[in-house]
Structures are given as C-alpha cells and as structure tokens.
Amino acid sequence: MNALKIKKGSSKKSAYDLRDPNSDIVETHTLAVIVDNEPGVLARVIGLFSGRGYNIDSLTVAEVDHTGHQSRITIVTGGTPAVIEQIKAQLGRIVPVHRVHDLTVEGASVERELALFKVAGTGEKRVEALRMADIFRANAVDSTLESFVFELTGAPDKIDAFADLMRPLGLVEMARTGVAALSRGAE
C-alpha cells in the first residue's frame, strides 16, 4: 500500500478491511498528513476537502521538522468508510504530501487539544468557576476582578465538558487549537 502513502500494515491486515466498505455509517477519523512546508500546501489540502465535498471537523498545522522543512497537518474528518479511504488516497496524490497516517485505524493514539476560556462573573459563580477549573486542572492564565482566562489541555470531549460547565457560570468566549495527535508506543 506504499502508493497510498499509508503506513504499512495499516490497511490490508488491520481490522479496518473487515468492515463493510459500503457501509453508510459515518465515522470520525483523525488523519496526520506529513507535508513539505512550502507555500500553498495548506491551501492544496483544504482545497481538496472543499472541492470534493469532504468535511473538516478540526485542523491544526505547524512545522515539526525545521531542518527538513516538514509540517504536520492533523485533520479530524468524518465520512463513510469508503469516503475516508478516498480522502486518504486523494491526500496521497498531492505532490508535496509525504505520508498520510490514519491514527484512528493504525492502533492506539493520543489526541490532545488546548483551549482558552474567558469566564466573567462575580460572587458565587466566580468561586464555582474557579473550583471547577481546579477539578479539570485548568490554569488561570489571566485574571481581573470580574473575569478569568482558563487554559485547559485535554481530549476534545474533556474540552467540551468543561465548556458546558462554564456556560452557566459566565463563559464569554473560547478559543480552541484543534486536535494534535500521535500514535502510542515506540514507533
């Protein structure tokens, strides 16, 4: 499966191929795309998704190899198994794309996201917000007499849960980085 630029062993012998390729069930997959950090490469990836009607739930990108000028684009996307396979094959076709990893099927992986929450309030709500932040191990990175900015790192559902709790306590706005993900283990 080298031509697909997909990690060896990830497709043919994994559980993935045992599933029905014609299934209509929409799955969420996290893809790591290793690309040359050259002008326009992100536009190529995004243009592929918009041009072919695929979804992007989350996207992060940064150069991870400064000497080799390679960036890692982490995309969370949804689609039926056939669509996910097509997305990976289409990504592999882009000339500056070196590798496409489907972290959802290539074994266990860790996914983390960083989020900032601005919570405004006084009195009991303010105290409660601080207490919740402590439980979630969020750091207060800015504080005034009427507000906090909390920093929280975690899996996307943890971020969602914290946001739900902050909403009645005076959540003004939030910023999320999108998912960064790596496979577990030594490889």
Partner: protein, 584 residues
C-alpha cells in the same frame, strides 16, 4: 562547473535539456524576457496561437500524438486565466503538459498590478501541481521537477509561474539529472500476489471482458502491445472507453467497440452480463457506468490503475492492482503463461456465441438517405477513404464526437485525440494544430460540429501561418446537436437556445483566413468533396451540411443500467425517468 545565466535564458535552456522541440504560446508584458531568448535561438520552434486556450489544446494534441509532454508559454493575468480550460481538460484526461506563465515582478505581487492574477491560486485545483518561483536559483530545478511530475505516475498538467524580475535576474542553472525529483516517485510495479490472483481469475472466468481506458495509451506503446498479446492469447473480448480507442486495434477480432453512454450494444451488454471485468487503465467514469447500483451486477471486478485514488472511488472492486499498466500487464502475462496459459475454453466459446448474437442487433444501424447527408454516412465515407492513410483524428465535443468514435476505427494508440473527461467544445481545432506540428507529413483531420468549431476558430490563423494542412471536417446541422437531442428526450422538445443562428459562410471564412473551403449538401458529391479536402495542399474546411435532427444512438439514458439501451427512434418515448433527469 556552475553555469550562471538569467532566468529567461534558463527557461529556454531547461526546455532544450528536456528535449522540447515545440512550444505553443502567446507573448505579453510579463514574459517578454523569455520571448527575447526564444527569438535568439533556433532549437525550439514557437507556435504563435491566436488565443491561450488554443495553445493549451494544441499542446495536448501534441502530447497525445507523440507521448511527449506538450509545452505552453503564456503571459500573466489574462494569458494565464485563458489557459485554465485547457489545464482542466488536461487534468481530467491525464495529459502531460507543462505550462509556463509570466507573472508581475515579485515586489508587485499582491498589489493588484496590471495583468496580475493569483495564477497558482487559480490553477491549483486544475493542475497536478504548480509552482510560483521567487528565486532565479530555483527556477531550473523547478522546471525539471515540473516535467518529472507531469510525465510520471498518472500524467497531468503542471504550471510554473515566473515573475518578471526572476526572468531578468542571474542565477545558477541546474541540469535535469541534478534536479530534486526523489520524493515524487509513484509506484509502477503492481503487487505480485494480486497479479497472481488475477491470473487465477482469468483461468476460471466464464464470461470475461477487458474494459480498457486511456491509461493503456498513457503507459506507452509497449503497454498497447502487451494488451494485444494478452487479449489474443486469452481470446477474451475487449471494449474500451472513448479515451482508450486504438490501444487494441479496431480491426482486431476480439474488439467489441467502444462502451458507455453511446457505446455499442454488444460492448455494454458484455459489461452488464460478464462474470469477470478486468479494468485496465480506466476509471469507471459516469459515462461508462450508467446507474451505479445496477452496474454489472454479477461480475468480479479487477482494477489496474496507477492512481490509488481511482480505486474504489466510484465502483467497489474485488481486486485492486495499483501500478503502471505496462508493468502490470508484463507481470500478468509472464505469470499466466508460466501457469500454463489456461482459460476456460468451453465457457468462453458460449460467451462468444452470446456476444455474436448481440452483434447481430447491428446497433449502429441508421436510415440512410439519398436526399440529405446523414452524419453517420459522412463519417463512414471519411473512414472508408482515409482508413489506410497515416492518419490522426481529433474531434470537438457533441454528437459528431460520438459518431466519430462509433464509425471510425483506430488500429494504433495516439491516433485519436478527443476531450473526454471535461468535454471541452473548441478542443478539436487547436488540438489538430498541435498534432500536425508534431506530424507534418501525416493526414490530420478534425471531426467537428459547427458550434464547437466556432469556439476556437481563430486557430485557423495559426494553421495558415505555420502552413499546417489540417482538415476541418465540419458536420453542420445548424444545431447544438447533443443539447438538442437531450431536449428532445428530456424537455418535451422545447429546443431552448440549441440552434446555431447566423452561422458564417464557412467557405468564405476559409478564404478569409487564406485557406480553402467547400460546402457539400448532396450525398452524391460527398466522396468527391472528401477527396478534394485530402488532396488540397493546405488547411481545408469542409462544411458538410447534414440531417438536422438526427439523434445519436445507441444511448444509455441517464439513470439507467447498461442493459436498458435505446437503440433507435422507436424506443425513445419516456426513456428518461424523473430520477435520471437530474443527471447530466
């Protein structure tokens, strides 16, 4: 030894080192330094087109008839945007071309300068890859990469945007063999286990069919030879897409004719009823498959393709083989032969009996006339008179294109140039210019409809200037025939804007361009007119007035499977259901 030179000189040097002998282009402000270098050398011929779209189609025609990449040189802004249709056409038909565009100087980029356009942004989705070169030291390397990317793997168009200051500046030239191409190395060898599995399937198949496409032709003449050897050795029937005509000879005994929406009855029925479909370098295009959920329901499907994204894109296949057609066929033949060259001869005999019964339907039958020239008859006569010649045929897009595919036969690859994927009206005339540039002594015929032909008719000027004796065979029905046919079948015969009003006099038009034309209406004069066209030593426009309301059959109505073909006028009532009406 490092070689210092200006960016403009570097462009010409890089083209020479890539073996380029012909460039199709149009000058403008942002490419003047390159044109100055073109002026000062004699190794590369520059063909001045009359519109940049014509340059790209000419380069496509050149590429498809030679197997070498076509090269285009145009200016910034409108020069580049005019090239977009041609780039998209080349992308969809996998044609290797390299387009060089001028750009405003780097310090002006982003200021909405005169004739500035975001060329790499505009052409990103319609090229295989593109580059904006901001440093003269990287220019030669980038041009070599562009040739590498355009011609390897699944071929396609590449574009290099070169700002004017980069053309003037000095830099270091890099030879092709030293260019960085290592990270783009598509897989060409197929998986041997999968190929062995295919050999086993070939041995067991009772109702097999080869379904071949443009990938065989793109893979090179060796691939076509291997395909012929395989087909003849197995005695399997073979059909081809519009793009793949000529890979297996039309005169070959196993040839079923083209398949698809206007393909032959026997070809489509064989596709529908087969038990083993071997797709060689085709991509299950919607013109081929018809209704997806009823596409060849009883078959095991094998797909050989160099592009992994073609696999399972439209049709789920049982055995994918990613690799170059030539390499895979070579391995397949070797493995199949070493296993004893076995096929299921008895079942195959019955399968051929069934196919022969389908052939007896005579699906291309039409009612000829002694009063008006039927377009099918015109093409049959053109075919009969030119078949043995060293002949290349291009087409425009529409009914005439389908009739040409049905009634003309091609025995060699690279002899048939048509816009398949994009369906670009206006492709054929400039493509014939490109083909004739590459093959000055051959007969080059553009089978056209009058409406398509008008879309790029300015290129007759190019033909006259460069003394290219291209033959324009216009089937003139004063209609947009295919649009009209669909309106008849689908929109209650309300012919909304599908007729050609105020057409020019094509004979006078030919004279105005400085070439020759003839009008023919009478079937009795047709052969003489064709002969005059062929004998004339120069470009010729033959205006063949044909039956105006002739429909192109057979036809798979949209939304229907292969076995629901319309064979003629009698079968057309309510042929397309409401669900099919939304399809194109």
């Amino acid at each position: 030894m490092t070689r210092q030179m200006t960016g403009a000189k570097m462009v010409v040097q890089a083209l020479k080192d890539q073996g380029v002998d012909t460039v199709f282009g149009y000058p403008g402000g942002a490419v003047l330094p390159i044109y100055d270098e073109v002026f000062q050398q004699n190794d590369i011929r520059h063909v001045l087109v009359r519109h940049e779209q014509g340059a790209v189609h000419a380069a496509e025609g050149y590429a498809r008839s030679t197997g070498k990449p076509g090269v285009v040189l145009v200016t910034s802004g409108p020069g580049a945007t005019n090239a977009v249709t041609g780039l998209t056409d080349a992308l969809l038909d996998s044609i290797p071309i390299v387009v060089l565009t001028g750009q405003v100087p780097t310090f002006m980029i982003g200021t909405d300068g005169f004739q500035e356009a975001d060329t790499v942004g505009i052409t990103r989705p319609c090229t295989k890859h593109n580059w904006l070169v901001k440093d003269t030291n990287k220019l030669a390397d980038t041009i070599h990469q562009a040739f590498h990317v355009a011609t390897t793997g699944r071929p396609g168009p590449t574009l290099i945007d070169i700002p004017k200051d980069v053309q003037f500046a000095q830099g270091t030239y890099v030879e092709p063999q030293k260019a960085r191409t290592e990270h783009y190395q598509p897989q060409v060898k197929g998986d041997i286990d999968a190929i062995t599995r295919l050999a086993e399937m070939i041995e067991a198949a009772e109702r097999p069919v080869f379904y071949t496409g443009g990938g065989v032709i793109n893979s090179g003449t060796a691939a076509s030879q291997l395909l012929r050897e395989l087909v003849d050795a197995t005695n399997f029937p073979i059909t081809s897409t519009l793009m793949g005509l000529g890979a297996y000879p039309a005169s070959g005994k196993n040839w079923l004719g083209m398949l698809g929406m206007h393909g032959l009855y026997e070809a489509n029925m064989a596709m529908h009823d087969c038990d083993l479909m071997i797709n060689v370098g085709a991509r299950f295009d919607d013109r081929i498959t018809g209704r997806i959920d009823a596409f060849s329901p009883g078959s095991k499907k094998v797909h050989i393709d160099i592009d992994p994204s073609s696999i399972n894109k439209v049709i789920h296949v049982d055995l994918p083989i990613v690799g170059d057609v030539g390499h895979v066929l070579e391995d397949l033949l070797r493995i199949w032969k070493s296993r004893g060259r076995k096929t299921n001869v008895e079942a195959l005999g019955n399968w051929w009996k069934q196919i022969d019964a389908w052939k007896e339907v005579n699906c291309l039958d039409y009612k000829n006339s002694t009063q008006t020239i039927k377009p099918q008859h015109a093409l049959q006569r053109l075919e009969a008179i030119t078949r043995g010649m060293d002949r290349y045929v291009t087409t425009e897009v529409g009914q005439h294109q389908m009739w040409a595919a049905q009634f003309m036969g091609f025995d060699e690859p690279g002899r048939w140039m048509t816009s398949g994927g994009l369906g670009t009206m206006g492709y054929g005339l400039p493509a014939s210019v490109g083909v004739q540039m590459a093959h000055p002594d051959s007969v080059v015929i553009n089978v056209a409809g009058e409406a398509s032909w008008l879309m790029n008719m300015q290129e007759m000027g190019t033909a006259v200037q460069f003394r290219l004796p291209i033959k324009q065979f216009i089937l003139n029905n004063e209609r947009l025939g295919m649009v009209r046919q669909w309106q008849e079948l689908l929109h209650g015969e309300r012919y909304s804007h599908s007729w050609s009003e105020a057409l020019p006099d094509f004979v006078k038009l030919a004279e105005a361009f400085g070439c020759k034309g003839r009008l023919v209406k009478d079937p009795a004069e047709l052969d003489d007119a064709i002969q005059e066209m062929l004998d004339y030593d120069g470009p010729f426009i033959l205006d063949v007035m044909v039956e105006k309301h002739e429909n192109c059959f057979p036809m798979i109505p949209s939304g229907e499977p292969h076995n629901k073909m319309l064979l003629g006028e009698a079968s057309t009532a309510d042929a397309i259901g409401t669900s099919g009406a939304v399809l194109v």
